[in-house]
Structures are given as C-alpha cells and as structure tokens.
C-alpha cells in the first residue's frame, strides 16, 4: 500500500470504525436495557462482549486517522495543517483520541460518544471539501510556524468541541450544580476543556500575529479570520468572568462555552464565504 492510498483509505476506514464502535456501544446499551425476564445469561454475555469490543474499534479508528495524517504529511512533504481538509482530518483524529480516552477512563461516557460523533461529523465535512493537495504557496512555506499555528488551531478546535459537548450535556441536565460542594465530572471536563481551548486560542493568535508580521508585514490586519478568532477568544474571556465558582459550570457559563465554540466554528469554516488573507487556510 502506498502513502497516497493510505491518505485515501485512512479517513474512510477511520470513519467506518468510528461508526462501528458507536453502533456496538448502542447495541450493548440496548441489550442492557432489555427486561430481566427476556435477558438471559447469553444476552448479558453478548452485551459484555460488545462493550469490550467498542474500545478496540475506537483505538483502530484512531490508528487509521493518525495514519492518514502521517501519510498526508509524507505525500504533501510538509505539515498537513493547511487548508480545510487537512485541518478537518487532524481535528477528527484528535477528537477520536479524546473519545477513546474518555471511554477508557470511564469518567464521562456520554462525552466519549459525543466526541466520536463529532469526529465522524468532521470526517463527513472533510469529504465535502477539496482533498487534492495543492502546491504550497510561498506564504505557507514556513514549516515551524505552520506546525505551531496550525497545530494549536486544530487542538483549540478539538478542546473547544469537547467543552461544548460537555456544556450541552450539562444544559440538558439542568446544570444546577453550582450550589453543591463538588463539581461533577462533566463540569470539570467542560471547565478544563474550555480553559485549554482559551489557552490554545491565545497561542493561535500570538503565533498568527508573529507569522503575519513575517509574511504580510503587519501583526494584525483586520482579516476576516483574524477577527473571528479574536471574537471566539473574547467569548472565552467572558466565560472566565461568568463562571460562578470554578470548576462549577452553571447555565450562563455553559451557554458561553457553546457560544465560543460556535464562533470558533465560524472562524474555521468561514473560509467557505470569507475573503481575505487566509483564503487558502
């Protein structure tokens, strides 16, 4: 199998494995909910087997996706973090890894399911955008800053997605936990992931301004993507001021996390309708 084939087959295999893992978990859940009279020992055993298989499939999906990222790097001869397709692929791989980590630690299983679903969505999006690697324009010929700026950007989107998923789950539960002594697992995940996203987004902006000065001659150019990224950063800053008593995440804080994620999505996918200096990103 050539590297080019891995770049083509890896994402498809990863998506199939992710979907299979989700189906297995759903089946195991359904078996577990069968009435006691109808669920004999054999059904219980089947449910247990399915539950054990799910992490294996998820791990295989991670291998497929990270393999596709590496293969893409070999084919395009640079860090594969330029353009919508490559970023979507990297984010999908990171989300799949986060889903696996959540599943293995067992701390927040709904989060694992939601992360896997988000990874699948990212892969479906990747299928819709042009995949053919284009020659690297002179502006992107800076391997260090491409890796740092693009890498932190992908990681910020991944952390932001995890925080948003946890926040949505908290909102569904009512998020009325701020009065209790201890934060729930989901609250901790939402808070830490949001902080990580904020930190990473700060680095994205800093590194981006450094790169912009080296390439475009100005560290801040009022480019559409720059503005949207700073808007997402500001919403996260608002979140820091709105959360009642960390790491508790109340309703307002959860809404702020989801808003920040939406603005970050706009930053990422805005290339579909933005014009400006980041048109190739």
């Amino acid at each position: 199998m050539t590297w080019l084939e891995v770049t083509r087959q890896g994402p498809a295999a990863g998506a199939a494995l992710l979907a299979a893992s989700l189906l297995l978990r759903a089946a195991a859940l359904a078996l577990g909910r069968l009435p006691r009279s109808r669920s004999g020992e054999s059904v219980k055993r089947a449910g247990a087997v399915l539950r054990r298989l799910a992490p294996g499939l998820l791990a295989a999906a991670c291998v497929g996706l990270f393999g596709a990222v590496v293969a893409r790097a070999v084919v395009v001869e640079r860090i594969p973090l330029a353009g919508q397709y490559e970023l979507a692929l990297s984010v999908a791989a990171m989300l799949a890894a986060a889903s696996l980590a959540a599943l293995l630690t067992g701390a927040a299983r709904p989060l694992s399911t939601a992360s896997a679903l988000l990874a699948l969505t990212a892969l479906l999006y990747a299928r819709q955008v042009p995949q053919t690697p284009l020659p690297t324009p002179p502006v992107q010929q800076n391997p260090l800053l491409l890796a740092l700026h693009g890498g932190t950007g992908a990681a910020a989107l991944c952390a932001s997605s995890i925080a948003a998923v946890a926040a949505v789950l908290l909102l569904r539960r009512g998020a009325a936990t701020a009065t209790s002594q201890r934060a729930t697992g989901l609250e901790r995940v939402a808070d830490r992931a949001a902080l990580a996203a904020f930190l990473l987004l700060s680095l994205v902006l800093l590194l981006g301004s450094w790169w912009a000065l080296e390439t475009w001659g100005y560290y801040w150019d009022w480019d559409a993507k720059e503005c949207a990224a700073l808007a997402a950063w500001l919403v996260y800053a608002a979140y820091l001021h709105v959360r009642p008593r960390q790491p508790h995440v109340d309703r307002r804080a959860a809404v702020a996390i989801v808003l920040a994620w939406l603005v970050l999505l706009l930053t990422y996918a805005g290339n579909l309708f933005f014009t400006g200096l980041h048109s190739y990103a």
Binding site: W222, A224, L234, Q246, T275, L277
Partner: protein, 465 residues
C-alpha cells in the same frame, strides 16, 4: 473582593491624609466597573463587533480593491448590501478599526482592566480570621481529638506543610489559629492577564501613531530605489528570482537580492528577501510581495540632450492581456503609459508608449531598442527589458510590546489553570482535655471534606507529634 479593597483602602487612607483618602474613595466608587458582570458585558460586546468585522468586509484589511481602488470597492459593497449600505456606512461598519465607538469600547475595556489591576490589594490580608469569622463563615468543618491544642497545632502544621501549604500561626480570641495557604502564585494569574491586556491595547494604540506600512515599493533590477518614509534607506536590486512548480503553473517562490544603503553607504550587501524571510534593519522590515516585468527607458529632450534612465514596472495587464505600466517622467512632469509587445507577436520587443501632457493631451508612439520615439518634445528610447520586485516597507516598533502583553495574558491564563490559590483557617479550641478543630475556607476552592480526608489519611495529629 470589594470587602478586601474597602478594608485595605480605609486602612491606608486613615494613615495618609485627605487627598489620598479621596483617591481611595474614587477608586472604591469605580470598583463596580471592574465587576465580573461589566467585564462580561464589555467582552461580549467586543466579540459581537469582531464577528461583524469578520462577516462585513473591512476597508482597513489591506487586500484586494479596498487598497487599490477604494471607489470600486465601495461600489461593490453598495451592490452587496443594497438598502442597508447607507446605515452600515454611517455606523462605520466597513471601517470598524477607525470608528469612534469602537475606540471608546476598546478604551473602556482597557480602562476596566487597568482599574481592576490597580484596585487589587497589594498583598492579601495577613490577619487571622476573627472569632466571629469562625462562627459565621460557611462552609466550615469541625473535628475533635483527644490531644491538647499545644500538641495538635505543631502536628497539624507539619501535616499541612507536607501537603505543600505555607503555614502561619495566629490567635483568634483565646484559641490558637493556623492559617494555611497554597498556590499563592495563582493569585498573580488575573493581574498578569489584565496587565497583559493593558499592554497589548496600549501597544496597539501607540503603534497606530508611529507605525507605517507601504505595500507598493517597486524596485527595478539593477536600479537604486529609495525606501522612503523618512528612513533614509536606499536599496539596489541585484537580482530578482521567480520560481514556479514544474507540474503546475503556480508560483513557488520569489526572492530578491538587494544591497541596502544608508546615507549612501552600504549596510547590508547581497541580502536576500523572500516571502516569510524579510530583511529587517533598524526595525524597518522589507518584505517580498511579488515580481514582474519592467522596461528601462532612456529619456531625453527632443534633441537628445540631458538623457537619463527611467525604469517602468509593468504592474498591470491591458485589454489585450499585455504587460502594461505607468511611470512619471522627470522631463516636463509627463506620465507615460508603457505597453510591451510580448515575444513571438508581431513587433515583439517594441514598447508602445502613450504620453499624457500636463494639459491632458495624449500622444502615442512606439519605441524599440534602436528606434526611439519622439513625443511632445520628449525622446524616449527602449534600453532593455528587465524584472522588478515589489516590496513592502513596514515599521511596527510596538510589535514586541504587543507580544509581551500577549505572553503575559497566556501566562496569566496558564497560571489560573495550573495553580489555584487556596487559603484555609483552622481554629484549635481546648474542649474537656481534648481539642476541637474548626476549619473555614478563606479563599479558593478548598473543599473541607478534602481536609477531612487529609486528616484521616493515616496522619492524625497524635501520630504527627
């Protein structure tokens, strides 16, 4: 927070006279502006403005028509936004950067951050909690031991120190008190982030006054060109190299080799400028934009006197897709439009000239290598074709300060993420030959159940003794 500010402020004011007291009062009155709610409001407003700036084309983003042809750019926006255009224009939504309301919003955010920074107590109160605090502060936790307080206190302190707490002894009424603090570095997180924000905004504000940027420095090969903008710098382009990807007709790189001169003396020889690798000298950045064809013209009067060379960069394409450009001739302030005929076409190597006289009259002619054109008393001969390099001159002395501010913001956030300040007070009371420990959380997220676990984790005060 307001309680601490008030107590610190009053204490200092009492010692330092009326003027200072008034200053402290003013500061206290302004404190509500630094509340989390007003910060949230300001940040949300700024975020909404920036989303608008992302969705509405900004004339200050120096790309496309906005920079080269502002009238056409405005017309394009009028067509896109239709009836909403006049209102959007009135609200400066196409140029948010320079809008007064945006500057006020930014200024208020910077002011609030600065105020928050100044209104924080210089150091946290070191007073032990009062006996009332132990009675009223919630949540609190009590645990009893058989040992006397004199034995419990050092054992408890040793236990807390092992857990990374800094321990101070005090008294509250007649009972000994242990105040334990951990993660004190974490209290610097918010000030660092706010200071960083103030530095970023101040740097950007100063930068808007002193920085400049010029994307149109056309430097023909072999010629000396002034960098301008009062820099006193000259560049001589030694070589222009343009490379493309072999399979696709796509640019892979542009490199210009220049000699940089200051006051007529060379300061950098054969320096290479390419995209991503600017030449930086005394804060002035020369960045590679693009390159293209140019023609070198010899211009003299009609009789061939006072000849001098003029390089004309051909920066645009004419209606027939030929390279074309405009140049101002020093002889009689004439503007010449030059069009070259591409190789392979009839008259290849010729340059079609169109001279515009000061009265608006246009004269046309053709010049080639050995055949000059004489138009309106000006003799123009084509010397040779060459390359020009388009460079950008940029001066942003504030950038390091903005980055320093940005690093402080990141450090502040990281600190708040990694180090959480915790402060607890432990009052040890003597009860029937034994001790009762009452613990209260003074700040941070210390869960008193954690303290219980700490004390029950095999290290009781008796063991510690």
């Amino acid at each position: 927070m307001p309680r601490e500010v008030l107590s610190v402020g009053r204490g200092l004011a009492a010692r330092r006279g009326t003027r200072l007291r008034q200053a402290w009062r003013l500061r206290y009155r302004l404190t509500p502006l630094t509340s989390s709610r007003s910060a949230m409001l300001q940040l949300s407003l700024l975020a909404a403005v920036l989303v608008a700036a992302a969705l509405i084309p900004q004339s200050s983003a120096e790309t496309g028509l906005a920079a080269t042809d502002p009238a056409s750019w405005s017309e394009a926006q009028r067509r896109t936004f239709g009836g909403a255009y006049p209102l959007m224009r009135a609200l400066s939504l196409f140029d948010i950067r320079d809008a007064l309301w945006f500057k006020l919003l930014l200024g208020s955010a910077a002011g609030a951050a600065l105020l928050h920074l100044l209104s924080r107590p210089v150091r946290p109160s070191t007073d032990a909690p009062s006996p009332q605090a132990f009675r009223h502060m919630q949540p609190r936790y009590s645990i009893s031991w058989a040992a006397e307080p004199t034995a419990v206190v050092p054992a408890l302190a040793a236990l807390l120190r092992r857990r990374g707490y800094a321990v101070r002894y005090s008294r509250s009424g007649s009972s000994p008190v242990v105040v334990a603090e951990a993660g004190r570095l974490g209290s610097l997180a918010a000030p660092a982030a706010h200071l960083g924000l103030v530095i970023v905004l101040t740097g950007a504000w100063i930068g808007s006054a002193v920085s400049f940027r010029d994307t149109g420095l056309y430097a023909p090969e072999g010629r000396v060109t002034a960098v301008g903008h009062g820099t006193g710098l000259l560049i001589k382009v030694v070589d222009v190299s343009v490379t493309s990807y072999p399979q696709a007709d796509v640019l892979s790189g542009v490199t210009t080799t220049v000699d940089l001169l200051e006051g007529g003396r060379p300061v950098r020889m054969a320096a290479r400028i390419s995209v991503n690798k600017p030449l930086v000298y005394k804060g002035v950045r020369l960045l590679q934009m693009d390159a293209g064809p140019a023609v070198l013209l010899s211009v003299s009067d009609g009789a061939g006197r006072a000849p001098h060379l003029v390089a004309a960069p051909l920066t645009r394409r004419d209606d027939l897709d030929r390279a074309a450009g405009d140049v101002e001739l020093s002889t009689g302030r004439l503007t010449a439009a030059v069009v070259t005929v591409p190789r392979g076409a009839a008259g290849a190597g010729d340059a079609a000239l169109s001279l515009r006289l000061p009265d608006g009259t246009q004269l046309a002619g053709t010049a080639s290598a050995g055949r000059p054109a004489v138009l309106g008393g000006v003799r123009v001969a084509l010397v040779r074709e060459m390359q020009f390099s388009r460079l950008q001159v940029s001066y942003q002395p504030e950038a390091p300060f903005v980055w320093l501010g940005g690093v402080l913001v990141v450090a502040g956030i990281a600190l708040s993420y990694l180090v959480r300040p915790r402060r607890i007070g432990l009052q040890i009371s003597s009860v029937d030959g034994g001790s009762t420990l009452t613990a209260v959380r003074l700040s941070g997220t210390v869960h008193l159940s954690d303290l219980h676990r700490l004390l029950d984790s095999g290290q009781t005060p008796e063991d510690g003794r």
